[in-house]
Symmetry: C2
Subunit: 76 residues, 2 copies
């Protein structure tokens, strides 16, 4: 699993949880499949730029926010 | 062809040309296939985040630079 894929999954999870959304709710907002969201967050699948765009739009963040070099880690 | 794919292709071409590289040279630096670079620039294929990472590293820009909402257009 490459670092890019893992970091992307962590960023999606972090931003989803910041919205207090379930994977189901994010899937619905993004027009994606719930199980696919789970696989993305676990770094099991490699997303395309179209998927990045759908997730960024659903989470209301720029695409760049999901592709930080390092995931935005919380305090501590 | 979605706007995201078209904008990504335009950004790759613009940054490649700014380096005065041929598609061949970019392909070599990124460890990708020359014809694939051509298809990306024409918006014919949807890149994965791993491809975005390879191209960003080769062009020495953050991944975000390749995924701007609108491609950075030159003067005029």
């Amino acid at each position: 699993m490459t670092e890019v894929v893992r970091n992307f999954g962590a960023a999606v999870r972090q931003l989803r949880e910041a919205q207090a959304w379930s994977q189901e709710q994010l899937a619905e907002h993004a027009g994606l499949n719930r199980s696919y969201i789970g696989e993305i967050e676990r770094g099991r699948v490699t997303a395309s730029i179209i998927t990045v765009h759908k997730l960024a739009r659903a989470l209301d963040v720029p695409m760049a926010e999901l592709l930080q070099p390092e995931p935005v880690t919380g305090p501590g």
